[in-house]
Amino acid sequence: MPKNKQRINAPHPFQPRDDEGPIFKEPWEAQAFSLVIALHEKGIFSWQEWADVLSEEIRLAQSHGDDDLGNTYYQHWLKALEKITITKNLSAKDELIERKRKWHSAYINTPHGKPIELSAADSKP
């Protein structure tokens, strides 16, 4: 069996090395994941609705040249989450863009090492 160890990990070169696999590559993936589960558990959408939006997003990405090798999965997940957030009127596109801009400014306005708070967005240091 040890001879096969290399090949076990071989279907795709970037497949995780350890057998049980890494779960989230980065924290934002876990956050995007948990948001979907939480909204679903709150009854905001059915799992079927979510699966439809997500698979449509994956199809779109493929048609735009994404190799769809599993490593971009949570990017599709996030895009689908933004879409369902808008179609369910939980938030609007403009509101999401504005909030993203605010977070960006909050980082810029916060001294290194201090916690980032949204209120820092519009204050000049």
């Binding site: 989230f24 090798l69 996030l78 939980l90």
Partner: protein, 208 residues
């Protein structure tokens, strides 16, 4: 020029988008930050494939549980305390000397999270999703799994309503083992069907 300490370098666009969503949804009372942390913790640390290994090892050692599991997996798995979050049904498909089962989700990556935790990257990839159906034997060989040509290979395509878990064959020579001792032999990959459950090199080592 010295390093500029009067600002913090903003994270990636993806991270900012998630922060935007998260902060807005929390403010609107649609999600609760503690729930979010609990979900991440559960799927990242508490579930893993361990729940599935528990289910399989119990089926190997408890014939009545095995019958119940094959008959209604959703119910049998719930009896061990593992309940689906998505309201999906679970079906357990049994490997035998004549049949080997392989699970895929061709459409996206539906996966039995309750028993296997989060899916590995390769499971979510387009090559696996298409090749598992088109050339399953080649996919299995890449995982180091060679099946006798007489073994029938069944590929199960998951959906948002129906997830599948493979019940691998119990490795020969472990017939009298306890459920606890068997559990580590049940790998995540064996429950997706890309590998067999087998004795690892250190299975016979005394446990420390």
């Amino acid at each position: 020029m010295t390093h500029d300490h009067d600002h913090t370098e903003p994270p990636s666009d993806l991270e900012l988008r998630v922060k935007a969503l998260e902060s807005l949804l929390i403010e609107k009372g649609l999600v609760n930050p503690e729930t979010l942390n609990a979900i991440i913790d559960t799927y990242e640390h508490k579930v893993g494939p361990r729940n599935g290994a528990h289910v399989v090892a119990k089926a190997w050692t408890d014939p009545e549980f095995k019958i119940a599991l094959l008959n209604d997996a959703t119910e049998a798995v719930a009896s061990l305390g593992y309940c689906g979050r998505q309201g999906e049904h679970l079906k357990v498909v049994e490997n035998t000397n004549d049949v080997h089962n392989l699970v895929v989700c061709t459409l996206c990556s539906c996966y039995p999270w309750t028993v296997l935790g989060l899916p590995p990257t390769w499971y979510k990839s387009a090559p696996y999703r298409s090749r598992a159906v088109r050339e399953p034997r080649c996919v299995l060989e890449e995982f180091g799994t060679r099946l006798d040509s007489t073994v029938k290979l069944k590929v199960w395509d998951s959906t948002s309503e129906m997830r599948y878990l493979v019940l691998p064959q119990q490795p020969a020579g472990t017939e009298n083992w306890s459920e606890e001792r068997l559990q580590p032999l049940v790998s995540r990959n064996s429950m997706i069907g890309v590998e067999l459950a087998h004795l690892s090199d250190d299975s016979n080592e005394p446990q420390s």
